[in-house]
Symmetry: D2
Subunit: 303 residues, 4 copies
């Protein structure tokens, strides 16, 4: 893996020379104060290696990257019944759009836009107390990463609860369409805490290994389910920038507004990048660029 | 390839036992009269083999499958300048929707919905007479298939011209937004004739080989462009059923209202299926099912 | 006014012969249990007469009819500054649609759709405790009706609070666009109680007199403001059924989901009708029909 | 009528002092070259007087003002059956929007947006040759004005045919929904020529008298139909600026992109204003202002 490490170092050096680091998410005060000139990249390979460069030991807020773990859990709990409540199609709209919801009677287009992810968390919650659902989610992530030192940042969760009017709007809309099984406040409380899980790039690359699939990779879920999660990440993982990401980078990936992206090279590796400045779609600007460079250099593409 | 041939025969037998063959496209009289209980499957592998089953020697109307060839030609002529006129994102809407066009000032979401494909054909036309552009398109397809016996069905083209009000609506809308370089009638005349190209499943599988990419496959276009075309097919190739197709089948593919689908297994094979009955998204019902069975049996998935 | 009384009696008799009484609003349990075979009509004329027929002494929930009084109060408090927060155009959408809100950055189209009415109540609330704002609203209505015996039905208000997910969705959306000055819960608490004001048809006809305008009518507000409120009622008073109502009935009017409608014949009379069964736009089915009959019989039309 | 004439002179003087005359419609070359610093106002009263000020003898292109006459003719030919093809609701969208059409299966919201007006003209055409339908329309207008010297400007019609891609898009969309009885080219040919009727403000005020209604006014159509046309003008006559116009001016009126507006004061007068510069809704900027001043000065309001 000497080549891979050299490549990560090279990308880290190039990225740091960037002039435009994008803009940090401003809608939550706790995220808005993260310094934007930070970058990390980490790769966990199917054969067990781990390489990293940049601030790969610095924790960041996973935010929407957690939607991948939550979806894996919800599918494990409910199987294909989940799809009665949420679709599997790219939305063609912004991550927090409510228009599609009204047009389609309260069934979100896919589990990676906010409305769909709220439904997924609601499915996991299933009448329990939020702390039980959160415990299940955190345990899953820790098991995937093989690391017990992964936690929820409660200050971030509370900051989102106070400023998350758009998500409250989505949740109440779902409730008005009878597509929420728990009270909106409980589902959102769980959702905001789930989004506030923190990890380092190193931990995230390790946690992503369960999606590498055959011939290697740990077996938390079946091969068929791995492929389906990867398909959803490729078609829906970057909101209304998913097509462009597939075109430029060519691997399944899920971004978060905290600046992290988890990418999967099927059969080969799990990649985590992090840089808190975002592009206009709400995806990490330099993280996307780093993934594009890495994929090209390693000839990693599913296509 | 004994295994592959046996697999195709098995799929052919299973598909023929289907009760529901979908519904043939009704909006063009020439397509509406095609008998729907027909099925063909053909695979051209990277190492030069060709296997087929069913009515693989029966010609059918390619329709939107031609959008893949047209896009390859337009990118060859204009390069990335094409993307100023058309996007690369899944649309989240029906293949013939005009709503997105008005919301986004006349720039179609991607080259595989009708509005986007009209722009692509308009780019190829480039001020020439339609027959010159059509000649270029047919030559490209023939070269890809290695078969001079591929033609346009003029009766189908004329039938579409007479009944294609929705496409005329899209083209005039594009013109009103100054996103059409040629008169709408000329661009549409070219577009309808392009869509009326006919092939057999065998010819289509051969014609698709140029998208197989490394390590094998003929080199009509660069590896990077192959990957990008495949990325677009995966995210946008089945209109508002693209996400579901990626989830269920897991390979890049482009469908046509004539019942054909071209699927690509990168590095491995080009697959053509055909069955004229459509599902509710306008994609071949049994063709999709056959591709899903084949992909699972051969363990073909990009994920 | 003998003629008018005879006319009301005749309409009352005709309406009671109806077979289809529409459907009572089902989304709030407290409204759903109102028996639908009830009808009342009352007219207060500019010259001081009051005529009525049917169950004109039966109280009903005003619901959206209160939006007229709230708008008059908000314009009195804030003047034209209110229009920075809400538009004056028919919406072309359902009363509880959220789509327009996302398309237009959180500024509701008009003060009579739910989102717009929430903004109006928020403007009246103005940082005060809900009970102070509610007291102002109830006092205004009592003064207009000349009747201190008008109250809020708290059971209805609480029922709406528990089942009003769609309004919570709208309010949080407004908050996310920074078009709410008070916490969503406070504004909605005020709004739900305002909507739960109860009156009889007789009281409502009297309360509507302040909108009759010159040459007669009490002078709670200026002639110019009366005309503007009437203009808004005519263009926006029946949601996406406003055009049809203007076409068929031809007078300014505002409906409520409790089955009441307040209509104004400028310079002549204030009319209240009530029948709890609704048509597909959410307006009283037989109330609308009664107004149409009355307007035709009395030759009352603004056109 | 000395007061009225004095009022018109005063308004003419005030309007001419305006700094911002709006912008002339640019999408048709023939309209784009009209000098914008022109203004006319004319009033025909129920008792037979005619007063005017400004360039009231200057001809201008009626454009969408003709939709009022066409609707009167179509209702005379087809009665309420027309409403199966077109609605009676304000659209909440721009005059040339196609979005509503796709959402609602090709039935335009009302007869005064472009799509609806194309349906109305199509109803008048009814399988005839365009010149016969046009002859009927021109005869109706001449009879209403009592003036044989009213004509179609063929250069304007041809200019629109060449540049009217948006209208072609609407017409083909209607055809694709089977809501066009004649070939799109024929219906549009008729429509463009209808819109190209020219009049002076004086002629237009006279032509509008048939909508004044009781107690006076000529009787081309029934009182009920007059009221209904006025209701439609009030709710839909200014596209997505109709609510604002009703709020500010308070009388039924229909505007045209040529800068003309026909306003009706029921029972009292017909008013024509003209100034070619438009506001952002596509309605005459100073024409609207002149109508607002006149209505206030004369205390003319339906409310």
């Amino acid at each position: 893996m000497a080549d891979l490490q050299a490549e990560l170092d090279r990308i880290d050096a190039e990225i740091r020379a960037a002039e435009d680091w994008g803009e940090v998410a401003a809608y939550i005060p706790e995220l808005a104060r993260v310094p934007k000139r930070q970058f990390a990249i980490a790769v966990a390979t199917a054969d067990g290696a781990l390489c990293a460069a940049g601030e790969a030991g610095q924790s960041f807020s996973l935010q929407s990257v957690t939607k991948v773990f939550a979806l894996a859990i919800a599918l494990g709990r409910s199987g294909d019944q989940l799809w009665a409540r949420v679709g599997r199609e790219p939305s063609g709209s912004a991550f927090n759009s409510i228009i599609q919801l009204e047009h389609e009677g309260g069934r979100p287009r896919n589990p990676f836009i906010n409305a769909g992810a709220i439904v997924v968390t609601d499915e996991i919650l299933a009448g329990r107390e939020p702390r039980h659902a959160l415990s299940e989610i955190v345990q899953f992530v820790r098991a995937a990463a093989g690391d017990e030192d992964i936690h929820i940042n409660r200050a971030v969760a509370q900051s989102e609860t106070r400023h998350g009017h758009r998500n409250f709007s989505l949740a109440h809309f779902l409730a008005s369409c009878e597509n929420l099984k728990n009270p909106p406040e409980k589902t959102l409380g769980t959702y905001f805490h789930q989004c506030a899980i923190e990890m380092t790039a190193r931990q995230l690359a390790l946690a992503g290994r369960f999606l590498i699939g055959p011939p290697a990779g740990p077996r938390l879920i079946s091969t068929q389910r791995i492929r389906r999660l990867n398909a959803l990440m490729l078609t829906c993982g970057h909101y209304d920038g998913s097509g462009d990401f597939a075109y430029r980078v060519g691997i399944p990936a899920k971004s978060g507004v905290g600046g992290g992206i988890l990418g999967i090279v099927p059969g080969v590796a799990s990649v985590a990048v992090w840089s808190p400045g975002l592009n206009r779609y709400g995806n990490s600007k330099l993280g996307t660029e780093a993934l594009e460079r890495l994929a090209r250099a390693m000839d990693w593409s599913v296509f």
